[in-house]
């Protein structure tokens, strides 16, 4: 029998001391669990970056905070961070494959500085040019969210 342990025969007709566990139902249960979990498994984890688009209905939970208007422009030259104090240019840098790409590390540093000086600030408007790829837009929004700028609005540049 499956899973049966060796049973030493005791003298005098006494009951064997070793217990016998029937593993067959256990294996059946595990097989069913594995089949169910394999069928229902989600192998790709999808994340959602929530943004509000300009002109959309205002979020009722959004509080009026003492913040400044921060705009982040995505142009063919790179980032342009515009706020009340002035404008910061972050030019594109060469990536690993040699093609110029947006400098997200510098952007993260600038946003960190902004957040440190204005802890209440949570709103930012991202304005990409028409030619900017979805990948760059998502990575930029992701960088903003990473620096605790939670209210990201995406608006066209022109």
């Amino acid at each position: 029998m499956a899973g049966s342990a060796p049973q030493p025969h005791t003298k005098g007709g006494k009951k064997p001391l070793d217990a016998e566990i029937n593993l067959v139902p256990f294996i059946d249960l595990l097989s069913c669990c594995i089949s169910f979990l394999l069928i229902t498994a989600v192998w790709t984890q999808i994340a959602g970056l929530q943004i509000s688009s300009s002109g959309g209905p205002p979020d009722p939970q959004q509080k009026q905070e003492q913040t400044i208007d921060v705009k982040l422009l995505l142009t063919e030259k790179g980032y342009q961070l515009a706020m009340a104090g002035g404008t910061v240019e972050i030019p594109k840098i060469k990536g690993a494959d040699g093609t110029p790409g947006f400098d997200r590390k510098t952007l993260a540093d600038k946003l960190k500085t902004l957040k440190a000086s204005l802890p209440e600030q949570s709103a930012i408007t991202v304005q990409p040019e028409d030619a900017v790829a979805y990948d760059d837009l998502v990575n930029t929004v992701d960088t903003c969210l990473g620096e605790q700028l939670r209210n990201v609005t995406v608006a066209p540049l022109n």
Binding site: G3, A47, A133, L137, V138, P156
Partner: protein
């Protein structure tokens, strides 16, 4: 003819032979082989634990397509169930139904996408009818947009405009969820 057990059956004379007969002598082997099930149960248990760790109660929210390669995101939230607009290099689809060609959206200066707007308005009307007497589920205007990495913002802009026109102001950009640890590992590998 009698039914016999399959196997080698020498002739009667050979079977009786003292020299060759031993070759075909049948030993009294036990008919049942015992299986070692412990390792099998161990393996099954490990697989079940692994699959349970990866289990997601939400299920598939998006229609994953071969044409759409999603970008990575490290600070995304869990995607909620909502209408899905997919933008592949070929077509813009709403809940799996094509509403426009991507090439067409890249041309011209117009912003509106009438077919997409109609579909979204219909969805909104349907939601509001279903939840007419349900104050706990007001219309939030949530929509999921999944697009290929290389799709230009001009197309996304028009999709967003259509969403806005139909009252879907809360847009979720779909991306592949990555952990910051994975990013650090990637940098270290380089």
């Amino acid at each position: 003819m009698a039914i016999v057990t399959p196997g080698k059956r020498p002739g009667e004379r050979i079977e009786r032979s003292r020299v060759f007969g031993k070759k075909f002598a049948r030993s009294k082997k036990h008919g049942y082989a015992s299986l070692m099930l412990t390792s099998l149960v161990d393996m099954f248990t490990i697989i079940v634990i692994f699959l349970l760790m990866n289990f997601s109660a939400n299920g598939e929210v998006l229609y994953m397509s071969k044409d759409i390669k999603l970008p990575n995101a490290y600070h995304g939230a869990q995607l909620e169930r909502a209408p899905v607009i997919s933008v592949s290099p070929d077509a813009v689809t709403y809940d799996g139904r094509q509403v426009a060609a991507t090439d067409d959206l890249q041309k011209g200066d117009l912003l509106n996408v009438p077919e997409l707007e109609d579909a979204l308005r219909e969805e909104r009307r349907r939601y509001e009818t279903i939840h007419a007497n349900d104050p706990d589920h007001p219309f939030r205007g949530l929509v999921n947009v999944q697009a290929d990495r290389k799709i230009p913002f001009k197309v996304i802009k028009r999709v967003m405009f259509a969403c806005n026109q139909s009252g879907f102001g809360n847009i979720n950009f779909a991306a592949l969820a990555k952990t910051p640890e994975a990013a650090a590992r990637k940098v270290a590998m380089k």
